[in-house]
Amino acid sequence: MNYQAALGLALPLGVGLAAVGSGIGLGMIGNGAMQAIGRQPEATARIQTAMIIIGAFAEALTIYAFVTVFLLSSKIS
């Protein structure tokens, strides 16, 4: 297997695996936000803001893998 085949196999797999972790993390953030809103509907706006901001952090990790794909994709000939 030459390096191009290895890259072609590994890059999408890497993004997919990173997305698994991010998906679980975002789900947990959503879960916490839903429970908090359920307990105290008056604080919905602040909880939503915090949820979106923390969601951006969790998403960033998959974005790092995504960026790596684009940086290396030119090497697949």
Partner: protein, 457 residues
């Protein structure tokens, strides 16, 4: 007046010398850059010691023996510096050291000329209107560009040694067809348009292709992101200067919007940083948010590109923030206080024993900050860009068989996602920067929560 002038000259010469050394290291070679730095340092030290000698000899002479001692030490210092420089000179580039040495004198001359100029009547007439100096600055920029074009023309004619030549080549060949053999003649893969990821054609890109082979064409092609970021900065300046120039008792529509923005940002920053430090950092953090937000949104405008879709721009922003945070920390906590903070604030014997572990962890955490800030913003905006390009290409491919001059705008829903992502990423960047400031500034509540807070990345 004279001493203060000298102090200002030394200060300016240090900054100018740093910038000049960076320029020399980038565009000439590392040896020249180091030579310039050494020359400037030597010259400034010389000036400082000369000042000490003159003051000691001619100043108010209370305690003659002490000031004579200081003068003698300074003279010895000057001689010592001369010896060190003479020893180093064969190893350093002579041109660099010469340039560096004359730099403070050039600074001195320019300051003297400017202080004469500022008092004159011609200057008062020039600055009476707002637009005359702006025109002069624009003309000066154009002249500077033309001069550097002429000066670097022989360097650009040299084959394949300067990156501008290679890029002018790549720009010329990229506009035409690609052939297998031409790829090997060019530089790394990322510089060519056909091998990098596909992008929408932009106004600056079209201009660059019109001017390929010329210096400004190569500049526009290579520095497209920088041109756009300057354009965004210019637009923001125009909007805010116009808003600030209006002084109405009851603010109208436009001023109202700007005031609302500024107030929201002020409240946002002061909520996190507290009333003591908040107002100090509101200008920086508020401008950071607005700048990043506008840069992100620029990519949605047709024929424009987000400068933040280039890692260079986001890395520059992240490095600026992190360096400013550390500079503020050193200014507020003192140098020892800053080191103590980085070592985990050891207070007990156990803490002191843990310092060899905590210090590298904190340093690596600090190094991870600009990386994560820049990559998060870059990845999101670049990814959203790629998404738009991908779906637009899909839309064009869908109608390709019919040979119509347009395609289905399949990327339309993702424009709304782009709007949301742009705002959220600007907000996240600014919020993280504010929190980095908060972590570094002295806060009143105990240090116990610091370890938990430090692991937020």
């Amino acid at each position: 007046m004279g001493l203060e002038f000298l102090a200002r000259v030394r200060h300016t010469a240090a900054i100018a010398g740093f910038v000049a050394a960076l320029f020399a290291a980038t565009y000439a070679s590392y040896a020249v850059g180091i030579g310039v730095a050494v020359g400037v340092g030597w010259s400034i030290a010389n000036l400082a010691m000369l000042q000490t000698i003159v003051l000691a000899m001619t100043g108010p002479g209370g305690g003659r023996s002490r000031v004579t001692l200081r003068a003698a030490l300074a003279m010895a210092g000057t001689a010592g510096l001369l010896a060190v420089a003479a020893w180093l000179l064969p190893h350093l580039s002579l041109a660099g050291v010469a340039i560096g040495f004359t730099l403070p004198f050039a600074v001195m001359l320019l300051k003297a000329v400017s202080s004469v100029l500022l008092g004159s009547g011609a200057w008062r007439r020039l600055t009476a209107s707002r637009w005359r100096p702006a025109l002069l600055v624009a003309l000066a920029l154009v002249a500077a560009f033309a001069i550097t074009d002429v000066v670097t023309r022989p360097l650009r004619a040299a084959p394949a040694t300067s990156s501008t030549a290679t890029l002018a080549q790549a720009g010329g060949e990229g506009a035409g067809t690609k052939a297998g053999g031409e790829h090997s003649a060019n530089a790394e893969a990322g510089e060519q348009e056909e091998q990098g990821p596909p992008e929408f054609p932009t106004a600056v890109g079209v201009l660059a292709r019109l001017g390929h082979g010329t210096a400004w064409g190569a500049f526009l092609h290579h520095d497209e992101a920088i041109v756009y970021s300057l354009l965004v900065a210019l637009l923001l300046c125009i909007v805010f200067v116009t808003a600030a120039a209006r002084s109405e008792k009851v603010p109208g529509g436009f001023t109202n919007v700007i005031e609302y923005l500024v107030e929201t940002l002020h409240d946002f920053v002061c909520d996190i940083l507290g009333p003591k430090y908040g107002p100090r950092f509101v200008p920086f953090l508020g401008s950071l948010f607005l700048y990043i937000w506008c840069m992100n949104l620029f990519g949605i405008i047709p024929f424009m590109k987000s400068p933040t879709s280039s890692l260079n721009v986001t890395l520059a922003l992240a490095l600026t923030v992190v360096l400013y945070v550390h500079f503020t920390a050193i200014k507020e906590l003192g140098f020892i206080g800053w080191l103590d903070h980085l070592a985990g604030s050891p207070r007990s014997v156990v803490d002191w024993c843990l310092v060899p572990l905590m210090f590298p962890i904190h340093v690596i955490g600090e190094l991870a900050k600009p990386v994560s800030l820049s990559c998060r913003l870059f990845g999101n905006i670049f990814g959203e860009d790629m998404l738009l390009v991908g779906f637009a290409s899909l839309g064009v491919t869908a109608l390709a068989a019919t040979h119509l001059p347009f395609g289905i705008p399949l990327h339309f829903p993702f424009l709304f996602l782009a709007l949301m992502t742009s705002t959220i990423q600007a907000l996240v960047f600014t919020m993280l920067s504010t929190i980095y400031f908060l972590l570094m500034l002295p806060h009143d509540h105990g240090h116990g929560h610091e370890e938990g807070a430090h692991h937020a990345h």
